[in-house]
């Protein structure tokens, strides 16, 4: 969904750039509370992982591809503010080093792909996870659903920018329908990657998943005293 230069006019791009700068400032403050000596390296690696995953365009319907946006994934793993910063870093590296995503469109891209995915997707994930039974194996499902929906939502925000500052005069509703339609399919890929990645980490280290906080029983160690019945069965399956 990387917007190139030329799609959105200069005033709108500039306004989006201002929002992006303010948002990054907000995230830098918020991320302070999320990061500690153990999660800081994880934040860097999650950003690197999102960068790598964004290189992998997977095919969706008829001659179209899509790739992970990663906002929901990063937010769940390292926290919403840190996650938005991680995706912002990815977008900056892509635009400045790989000529992917326009320089004038950086603000639009950061707002849609880093901020909107997180600001919508992370609370949605927490709501889903809160409403579901508190089971470790259900959190990746909540993550996948939130990730799925975050993609068409981000595409709608792009349409919003287009309706304000699109350089070609078009029917907004037809662009919106086309964008949401294709991004629902891309969202399925987003859901699969997000669900599997969250599941992998939560299986080995639930305590490292920021978004799982307060949702899982705290006790990780349980005292197993052999009772006569388990002792009789040898304790081994």
């Amino acid at each position: 969904m990387h917007v190139p230069d030329g799609f959105i006019d200069a005033p709108t791009s500039l306004a989006a750039g201002a929002v992006a700068v303010m948002g990054v400032g907000l995230c830098l403050r918020g991320a302070r509370r999320e990061l500690n000596e153990r999660t800081a390296p994880l934040a860097g690696l999650v950003a690197a992982f999102v960068f790598a995953a964004q290189m992998l365009n997977f095919p969706v319907a008829s001659g179209t591809s899509g790739h992970l946006l990663g906002g929901v994934l990063a937010a769940i793993l390292v926290g919403p503010f840190t996650g938005a910063l991680a995706v912002t870093t990815v977008l900056l590296v892509q635009a400045l080093l790989f000529a992917d995503g326009g320089l004038t469109a950086l603000g639009v891209n950061i707002v849609t792909m880093a901020f909107v995915t997180v600001a919508f997707g992370y609370p949605f994930f927490r709501l889903l996870a809160w409403a579901m039974p508190r089971r470790r194996d259900l959190l990746p499902v909540a993550a996948a659903v939130a990730a799925l929906v975050s993609v068409p939502v981000a595409s709608l925000v792009f349409v919003g920018f287009y309706s304000v500052g699109g350089t070609v005069d078009l029917s907004v509703s037809s662009v919106a329908a086309a964008m949401v339609g294709v991004h629902l399919f891309i969202g399925i890929g987003e859901a699969v990657i997000t669900g599997l990645t969250v599941a992998s980490v939560i299986t080995v280290r639930p305590d490292l998943v920021y978004g799982a906080r307060g949702l899982l029983p705290r006790a990780q160690l349980e005292l197993r005293i052999p009772t006569p019945s388990t002792a009789a069965s040898g304790g081994q399956p």
Binding site: A47, M55, A99, D100, L208
Partner: protein, 117 residues
């Protein structure tokens, strides 16, 4: 709970992400779909693709995820991917640890070292 053993156990997850990122960007990316992405496809269908302007950095050494001067397509893309992973890791990890470090390292006198809110 021994903090030493915990951070050593963190390394498993961290290494997992590093290895996955390097493999995906360095090797698997070669097999990625080259079809236009969702936005580009809509731009083509709705006929605003032509409003795209060339990127100012199209001549830069890694533009388009290809490494200038490396002829082998597979290696050129893989190398660009690995460089991207490294740069992203350094920038994001660097920012994260800078933010973290600015916080007062040690707890205030009299504060307990136990978990706080």
């Amino acid at each position: 709970m021994n903090p030493g053993s915990r951070s050593r156990r963190d390394i498993g997850v961290l290494m997992g992400f590093l290895v996955a990122a390097l493999l995906l960007a360095g090797v698997v990316s070669y097999y990625a779909s080259g079809d236009p992405d969702g936005l580009n496809k809509v731009a083509i269908d709705k006929q605003f693709a032509s409003s795209e302007q060339p990127h100012d950095l199209d001549d830069s050494p890694l533009a388009g995820y290809a490494t200038t001067g490396v002829d082998d397509e597979r290696f050129s893309g893989g190398l660009a991917g690995v460089i991207g992973v490294a740069v992203t890791l350094v920038v994001a990890g660097g920012v994260a640890s800078l933010i973290r470090r600015r916080e007062p390292q040690e707890t205030r006198p009299g504060a307990t070292s136990g978990p706080s809110a």
